[in-house]
């Protein structure tokens, strides 16, 4: 192959490369132009027929042409790859807003959400979570909690009784406090426990009452526990749950199972007070009923409505909504 051949070969090759419309034909060209049977390869083979001087010049020339072809193929390949990629992307174009069918997870009930939030908070303060039966005996719900038989304080609770054992011996627990007794019966102090649970009262359902609702109770029994500890713990809880903007207040109150007893109020940032919890020092008779010596151990307890915290958090104005289970309600939280 002479020099002119090479030049025209190059220009033909470049034209062909330029004309390649896809990677497939470019690959064929690559073989044609640079492969074993290509013009340049055979030209190289024929170099031996030339004298050394010509061979040197011609060889160099062939290599230059091959390099150039190779480079052109590579460049062309990049362009074609980019084109093909764009084409694929264009062909696969989707309108994602059309595909958003609003698939959703299920939702934990707002009571569960509040319940778990409270559990986590107290666990962080070193408490365990205790549970007890919802159908209780009279002793755990009242007797052990220092409600003497026919004591008017029992009237504060509209108790629902069930057909089990002696009449009025078995009831739907009216508060979570019987779990205090069950904890004292089952473990030695120190006790740092909360007791969330479902409770029952003979209340007609309205915006603020349900015959079924939920409470959470805390019990601490240890050596040297004081009323100041109760007050401080309630403060710590309030700032952790509600934030620092809430002021707290304790007012004297009465519960048979605590003495001194108190109501725990918090003041909202808007200045209004909310009665949050009943609390007090565990009554010596309750410690005795739990098998503990009130001279050695002292403790505090507090309890409050869990549902109301759920209502407050979400601005729900009707307690009944929590138990109606309307999907339009459930799926909001």
């Amino acid at each position: 192959m002479n020099k002119i051949d090479l030049d025209s070969h190059l220009s033909e090759a470049l034209t062909a490369i330029e004309a390649a419309r896809d990677l497939e034909s470019l690959k064929t060209l690559d073989t044609e132009l640079l492969g074993k049977n290509s013009a340049t390869t055979s030209a190289k083979k024929n170099l031996g027929e030339l004298n050394p001087e010509e061979r040197k010049v011609e060889g160099k020339r062939i290599n230059e042409i091959r390099d150039q072809i190779q480079k052109e193929i590579l460049d062309r390949k990049l362009i074609l790859a980019e084109e093909e990629n764009s084409l694929q992307l264009e062909n696969e174009r989707l309108d994602l807003t059309e595909l958003d069918l609003g698939h959703r997870l299920g939702h934990r009930h707002v009571i569960t959400q509040t319940w778990e939030r409270l559990e986590d908070l107290f666990v962080g303060m070193g408490y365990t979570v205790a549970e007890g039966p919802e159908i209780e005996d009279e002793w755990h719900n009242f007797g052990a909690l220092n409600f003497p038989l026919s004591h008017p304080a029992r009237d504060m609770y509209d108790t629902l009784y069930v057909d089990y054992g002696e009449p009025q011996s078995t009831l739907l627990r009216t508060h979570t406090s019987p779990v205090q007794m069950r904890v004292m019966e089952s473990q030695e102090p120190p006790i740092y426990s909360i007791m969330p649970g479902r409770v029952f009262r003979s209340d007609t359902a309205d915006a603020t009452h349900m015959p079924v609702f939920h409470q959470i109770e805390a019990l601490v029994v240890d050596r040297g526990i004081t009323f100041a500890d109760l007050a401080g713990t309630l403060d710590a809880f309030t700032s952790a749950y509600f934030g620092k903007d809430f002021v707290t207040r304790l007012r004297p109150s009465y519960f048979p199972f605590t003495e001194p007893s108190a109501e725990f109020d918090i003041r909202r940032p808007d200045g209004t007070w909310l009665e949050l919890a009943g609390c007090g020092m565990v009554h010596p008779n309750v410690l005795k009923a739990g098998g503990l010596d009130p001279e050695e151990w002292s403790g505090f307890a507090f309890g409050f409505g869990l549902d109301r915290l759920a209502l407050m958090r979400h601005g729900i104005d009707d307690l009944r909504e929590l138990f109606r289970n309307d999907h339009r309600f459930l799926s909001q939280f």
């Binding site: 559990e119 666990v123 740092y192 079924v212 004297p252 009554h283 002292s298 138990f323």
Partner: protein
């Protein structure tokens, strides 16, 4: 308990604005539920006389009233009440009056007729609860007088207090004043009326016999002569009205006034009607009859206390309600006045049994002051003396068994240890003395005499509470005890969260239906169980405790469907209750999980279960086809783990869906978590992952319909042995060319060894083993 500020100030020179006093009351444990300024809202309201009543030409519900508001001129008012007649005196809110709801009275047209003011109901001007009709005034009032002047009402503040059961003393104005005085450091004093006595002594005219000393701790009786029954002076009736009591007559009003003021309830008898002029105090005979003041004949129980006359006929239910036979009326000339101390438990039981909770019984129930009767009698006589009544000499004072109240030893160290404060004996003594708890030194400590008006207090801890109350809860420091323990959730509590989070992740919403069912609900769900029932339900529809979560979930689906919310996937995790098979202290109470998939089928329920089993690492379960009642007979399986039944998965029976008016197919899953979660699950030891290549083979069998796929899988597993690391049913096919009553089940089996690459020969051997086992053991053949 309602109290008036002016009344409180009769006992102590209390200071502070009404808001400050309200705060102090709350701080003392007498929570102010409501505070009302009274009298102030009467400005602009005058006494007016009805001159004429006419129908409104264009309205039925209002009439036109002409009144004289003092100038003699008829003034037309539109009024929605019809209870007055011409000549009546009524309160008129004149133009410009601002009512207590903030509304200003202006001249306005009502249906085309002018109204020049408003006639008022008692409730509209803070004079009681009566909102039925216009308030009718005493005919002696002068027309045109400001109402406030006519009624002799002074401006005052009314506090409505919540009084706890442990505060018998605070059921009186005097008791509330004592607390406030102690807090403010002011002197508190009770009145000391001393009425002139004349006439024949009580000893000659009346006898008292306490036959049941436990029932009656003290019975004091006196006689008042020259009674003229009539209305009370306005200073008495105004205060009664303010505190929510209706004035009746001067005798009843005096009794109520003294009760409100000093906390001592009393009962008055028309002495001339008391047979034999004697009182016998005893327990009732079972079934003994008495007609009470309200005219109702009541049958008594042997636990009720009665006051009987000398003939032993019951003439009153002790401490609860008097009898009609000795009631005061217009002709009464002489009264016997009873002030007693009744056993709180007996009164409470009787009042509850008869549904007769009264102002009196609520005081006796808490334990009234047994020592206030003498003063209260004098006070009663003083109030009634303005109508000419005279107190006769002598007092019959009989005592039964009053509780023995020895001094209480209060340890100073104990006080400080309990409250977390550091008070000296002197400080503690001062606090207690201001509440009339008498203290005396006893070594390091104090001996404390509990005052007679604090029946609730009898132990050291009661006294500690009083110290804390008066010291002020807000003055007690705040500390946080350090738990030496590690907090945390139990395994069950963690599992419960896993269950909820998994189901939520599967798009299932959590619900909380109430656990009460109506009779028949369980049966309608196909459940024959011995359910627990509520013996005193509010309504029958809520009288059965659920023995399954099924009825509640189906009702929830039906409720939602009635609001066009269908295709719902819901779960509930909660307790179910049943009568146990053998005797035990409490009913069977178990924690269950129930899932309903509306519009879903058994397959979707199985998928929920397998995901849940994976989440709980409870993998070794078996599904065994069963037909339990209430569930779809041909689409239900029992879930077993190591031979223990932990629940059911499938669909709700169509008949049950009909009964609950659910029109969609419903996939169902129920798990007894108390069983399932006590089976070992969760963490498992690590199995090393093979580095050698795995090989897959596919096998399709034609299997008879009555052979469960699970059987094919288990035969495949057993015969493939340890080399089988994964088995998947990838296709189920029915129809040609598969035979009748058969289907094709196609499996992919993946084999891998931990120590070598499996050879073709090994694979083919295990393949043959699998095929022949399935063909031999089950009604199945390999499809080619």
């Amino acid at each position: 308990m309602k109290v008036l500020l002016t009344w409180l100030r009769e006992f102590a020179p209390l200071e502070g604005t009404s808001e400050e006093i309200a705060d102090q009351l709350s701080g003392l444990g007498l929570t102010v539920e409501d505070m009302t300024h009274i009298g102030g809202d009467l400005d602009g309201v005058v006494v007016a006389k009805v001159l004429d009543l006419r129908a409104h030409p264009d309205a039925d519900r209002i009439q036109l009233v002409d009144v004289d508001s003092g100038d003699g001129e008829p003034l037309q008012i539109c009024c929605g009440a019809f209870n007055m007649k011409v000549g009546d005196l009524v309160p008129l809110a004149t133009l410009g009056t601002i009512m207590n709801n903030g509304m200003e009275i202006a001249k306005r047209k009502m249906r085309g007729q002018w109204s020049n003011g408003m006639l008022c109901a008692a409730s509209e001007i803070g004079l009681g609860v009566d909102s039925e009709g216009i308030m009718l005034l005493d005919s002696s009032f002068e027309v045109g007088t400001p109402l406030k002047e006519a009624l002799g009402i002074q401006e005052d503040v009314l506090f409505d207090l919540e009084v706890n059961p442990n505060r018998p003393d605070a059921m009186s104005i005097a008791g509330v004043a004592r607390d406030l005085a102690a807090l403010q450091g002011k002197k508190f004093s009770l009145p000391t009326p001393k009425e002139q006595e004349s006439g024949e002594s009580v000893n000659e005219r009346l006898s008292v016999e306490i036959l049941d000393p436990e029932l009656c701790g003290r019975f004091v009786a006196r006689i008042l002569d020259d009674i003229e029954v009539g209305p009370s002076p306005s200073w008495v009736s105004n205060r009664l009205v303010a505190l929510g009591m209706r004035p009746i007559n001067n005798v009843v009003d005096a009794s109520n006034y003294v009760m409100l003021e000093l906390g001592q309830p009393s009962h008055t008898y028309d002495l001339d009607r008391v047979h034999g002029s004697g009182f016998k105090v005893r327990k009732a005979q079972e079934g003994e009859k008495i007609t009470t003041l309200d005219g109702i004949e009541r049958s008594l129980a042997s636990s009720d206390g009665v006051v009987a006359d000398a003939d032993d006929v019951a003439i009153g239910i002790a401490g609860v309600m008097g009898g009609a036979s000795t009631e005061i009326d217009q002709d009464t000339k002489t009264i016997a006045l009873e002030m007693a101390w009744w056993d709180p438990i007996s009164i409470s039981a009787t009042a509850r049994r008869l549904g007769l909770r009264s102002e009196a019984s609520s005081r006796f129930e808490r334990g009234a002051d047994p020592e206030i009767a003498d003063l209260a009698m004098q006070r009663f006589a003083e109030i009634l003396s303005s109508s000419g009544a005279t107190l006769t000499p002598g007092t019959l004072d009989s005592r039964g068994d009053l509780p023995h109240r020895p001094p209480v030893r209060v340890r100073i160290e104990r006080v400080n240890k309990m409250l977390g404060v550091n008070l000296s004996r002197k400080e503690i003594s001062k606090l207690l003395e201001s509440l009339e708890f008498k203290t005396s030194k006893s070594g390091e400590n104090l001996d404390v005499e509990i005052p007679s008006f604090r029946f609730d207090s009898s132990e050291e801890i009661d006294v500690i509470e009083e110290i804390a109350r008066l010291y002020g809860y807000s003055n007690i420091p705040r500390t946080v005890p350090m738990s030496a323990l590690t907090g945390g959730l139990t395994e069950r509590q963690t599992d419960r969260r896993i269950v909820k989070n998994t189901l939520v992740g599967l798009g299932i919403d959590e619900v909380m239906p109430v656990p009460f069912l109506a009779p028949g609900d369980l049966e309608a769900a196909g459940l024959k169980v011995d359910g627990i029932t509520v013996t005193n339900p509010l309504v029958t529809e809520e009288s059965v405790m659920r023995a399954s979560l099924r009825p509640g979930l189906l009702k929830t689906l039906a409720y939602n469907a009635s609001h066009r919310l269908t295709g719902l996937k819901l779960f509930e995790l909660g307790h179910i209750y049943q009568h146990p098979l053998s005797e035990q202290p409490l009913p069977d109470e178990r924690e269950h999980l129930g899932v309903v998939l509306a519009g879903g089928d058994a397959g979707s329920a199985v998928n929920v279960w397998s995901a849940l089993a994976d989440a709980l690492a409870l993998r070794d379960y078996e599904l065994i086809t069963v037909s339990p009642p209430g569930l779809h007979a041909t689409r239900t399986a029992q879930i077993e783990v190591h031979g223990e039944v932990i629940g059911f998965v499938g669909e709700i029976a169509p008949s049950v869906l009909d009964a609950y008016e659910v029109s969609e197919r419903v996939g169902w899953l129920e798990i007894d978590l108390d069983t399932a979660l006590t089976i070992s699950h969760g963490d498992k030891p690590y199995k090393s992952i093979s580095r050698y290549p795995s090989s897959d083979i596919d096998l399709a069998f034609e299997v008879a319909e009555d052979v469960p796929a699970a059987s094919v899988s288990s035969v495949l597993r057993a015969s493939a042995g340890e080399l089988l690391i994964d088995l998947r049913l990838f296709d189920v096919f029915r129809g040609h060319p598969v035979g009748e009553n058969c289907r094709s089940l196609a499996y992919t089996l993946r084999f891998q060894a931990t120590d070598r690459t499996l050879t073709d020969k090994e694979i083919s051997e295990v393949r043959e083993r699998c095929i022949s086992a399935v063909e031999k053991e089950l009604a199945a053949s390999l499809r080619s």
